[in-house]
């Protein structure tokens, strides 16, 4: 494999062999390594010294179930620290077919023009993106597909990335070529916009599958992993109900963010639940599907396609985090309204978590009322129109809170919390507080653990374990949900890596990779100026009891500061 370095000022490509210190890493861990090695911690995230990096995980390229994710990284304009956001879809697979271990996009163009960057086995081409500049991702992706065909993978930004908004993500095509798999968090879409790129097109014509050193051993390990995954009871729950199954679970624990994180239970939770979502999709028929795969070869198929009352697709997928942040968090108990908001957010290329949190703060600022889906949609259109109000909301919850003088802002390190109330699920609160990524939905959730989530003791240990494992999975390119297959057959991780690369890693490789990734991320953040003071939840959560059960976040500072002592 190679490192492809693209300079957007000179429009030149340099292909390099992989440095020895990078070889054993992929995905999130490799991003962290490259950031520490090459990007000044103090650089301006939207300036010429930041880099935008795409790195498939170590196991990407073999259609191993749920293991073809792409990690995208750089210095975040939202957190001003390190950022990795990963997504399903086909971008990771195509990069692996092109033999690219890391695509590093450097510098900044002198001209204002937006470009398409086309990658194939023959190298790169820059093409003017004039015909799709200013378009939302759905229309832009359609035009790119008709121009480049259905076999390419595409990573693109919407209007939000062009506007350099800190809540802008990067979208990727799913297996049905819908541009809905978003590397959403931390504003990497704005970084891509700052590099003058509207879209990256990956053409794998004439390429071969990535090599496997010991194909027989790989097949054996693959079989064992797939069996473990298919036999796990969670697989059926996710296939039938998707991530939205979490709505009632979080609500049951009093941990469903409701009305700008002012309550942990929502009286209309059932109407936005995975169970109800499935019922509605099946009743309406048409284009709706309760079970859908985002990546080729995925056996879990937790995604869905949500259709309106006439059976026409409204949005695909409709996920728990969006339901939590744009539903209960806004007092909206109607899936059709949430789907419409989700579609608009997607089209602009925005992170639905960050924008849901921004809107929650906007309610406290008096800009809308809870439950008012029409007004929420109008505010999304303010973002699209690039009005001052829209730019405030589009730059995230912290910016919105600062501008309007709202103190209840559910965010850490500048990034909004996902749909788990940290006062009710305290292990997740520890993850939100201490993760180098900011409050993040994939850095180490703990709701599954059979513990008293309200007891502050032991939560740091719980968070440490999940953070290490998740950083490991993100380095492999494995979806969160591949994790329960791997957790039941952990030896398959070792066997797959050894067979793929001819290595002889041990059974603890997941933790080894996870620890290395976290250590590097924390090192980048240290260089960027972060201290222990940044590893804290917003103050109000320490003393304002959360209805209905009344917990506050009371994990000690000592425990928070000890999370990374292993």
């Amino acid at each position: 494999m190679q490192v492809w370095r693209v300079n957007v000022r000179t429009k030149m490509l340099v292909r390099e062999s992989v440095p020895a210190a990078w070889e054993h890493l992929g995905g999130r861990g490799l991003l962290a390594r490259i950031m520490v090695d090459e990007v000044p911690g103090t650089c301006e995230p939207l300036g010429r010294f930041n880099k935008l990096i795409f790195a498939p995980g170590l196991l990407v390229g073999h259609m191993l179930s749920s293991c073809d994710r792409i990690s995208v990284g750089g210095k975040s304009p939202l957190t001003r620290g390190i950022k990795e956001a990963n997504a399903g879809g086909t971008t990771g697979l195509h990069l692996a077919y092109l033999g690219i271990k890391a695509l590093i996009i450097e510098d900044q163009p002198e001209e204002k023009q937006l470009w398409l960057l086309h990658l194939s086995k023959d190298g790169i081409q820059f093409m003017p993106a004039d015909d799709i500049a200013g378009l939302g991702v759905y229309e832009a992706a359609e035009k790119l597909r008709s121009r480049f065909g259905d076999k390419v993978a595409i990573a693109l930004i919407g209007t939000a990335g062009e506007q350099r908004l800190a809540a802008a993500g990067i979208q990727n095509l799913d297996k049905d070529r819908v541009p809905s798999r978003i590397a959403a968090r931390g504003g990497l879409g704005a970084v891509m916009g700052s590099k003058g790129l509207k879209a990256i097109i990956l053409d794998t014509q004439g390429t071969d599958k990535p090599p496997i050193v010991d194909p027989a051993a790989f097949r054996l390990a693959q079989k064992a992993f797939t069996k473990s995954l298919m036999e796990h009871p969670q697989t059926k729950v996710y296939a039938d109900y998707g991530t939205a199954a979490m709505t009632r679970m979080a609500n049951g624990f009093g941990g469903l963010p409701t009305r700008n994180f002012s309550s942990g239970q929502f009286e209309e939770a059932d109407r936005i639940s995975g169970e109800f979502l499935r019922q509605v999709i099946l009743e309406r028929g048409g284009e709706g599907e309760p079970t859908h795969a985002c990546m080729p070869g995925c056996t879990i198929r937790c995604s869905n396609n949500y259709a309106d009352s006439k059976g026409t697709s409204l949005v695909s997928p409709l996920e728990y985090e969006t339901i939590g942040l744009m539903g209960s968090n806004l007092g909206i108990g109607d899936l059709d309204t949430i789907a419409r908001l989700n579609r608009q957010v997607n089209d602009q290329g925005l992170d639905s978590i960050e924008i849901g949190a921004s809107l929650g703060v906007a309610v406290e600022a008096g800009l809308m009322k809870f439950g008012d889906g029409e007004r929420a949609y109008d505010l999304l259109m303010e973002i699209r129109k690039d009005t001052p109000l829209g730019r405030i909301i589009g730059n995230g919850a912290v910016t919105t809170g600062k501008v309007f003088g709202v103190l209840r802002v559910p965010a850490v390190k500048g990034q909004a919390m996902s749909a788990y109330e940290p006062r009710a699920i305290k292990g997740t609160g520890v993850t939100y507080a201490t993760s180098p990524q900011g409050a993040d939905h994939t850095s180490g959730l703990t709701i599954r653990a059979k513990v008293n989530h309200l007891d502050p003791k032991g939560q740091a240990d719980l968070s440490r374990g999940t953070q290490i494992n998740m950083a490991g999975y993100d380095t492999l390119g494995a979806c969160i949900f591949a994790g329960f297959g791997f957790a039941a057959a952990p030896e398959t991780i070792r066997d797959l890596l050894n067979a793929r690369y001819g290595w002889s890693v041990g059974a603890d490789i997941l933790q080894v990779l996870g620890k290395e990734s976290l250590k590097l991320e924390r090192e980048f953040n240290r260089l960027a100026g972060f201290t222990q003071a940044d590893d804290r939840l917003p103050e109000y959560m320490n003393h304002e009891p959360l209805p209905p059960f009344g917990p506050v976040f009371d994990v000690s500072d000592e425990d928070l500061d000890g999370v990374f002592n292993w």
């Binding site: 979490m246 979080a250 059932d270 019922q279 709701i447 599954r448 059979k450 998740m470 039941a488």
Partner: protein
């Protein structure tokens, strides 16, 4: 006494009018979660099901109180894996 029961995902009951996931159940004083599980004929896999009473994980031997809200949840991870074995 009466408790309110929430059945999640694959534990929903099938009825002619559609799935049933919320119900009120009358129990004798001193009844436990085990009694409730038996009454509702729920197939509970201890390793993969979370029983939650008043917002907290509960053991099956827990004695229930009037007006308790009980959730039976086929566990999903939401992403976190506390350990590496059997979770």
């Amino acid at each position: 006494m009466k408790v309110s029961v929430h059945l999640h995902t694959t534990l929903q009951k099938v009825s002619p009018t559609g799935p049933v996931r919320e119900l009120e159940v009358e129990l004798a004083e001193g009844a436990t979660l085990n009694d409730l599980i038996a009454l509702l004929k729920l197939e509970i896999n201890d390793e993969h099901t979370l029983c939650v009473v008043q917002g907290q994980i509960a053991e099956r031997t827990q004695i229930l109180s009037d007006k308790d809200i009980v959730h039976f949840i086929p566990a999903i991870s939401g992403g976190g894996f506390p350990g590496n074995a059997g979770i």
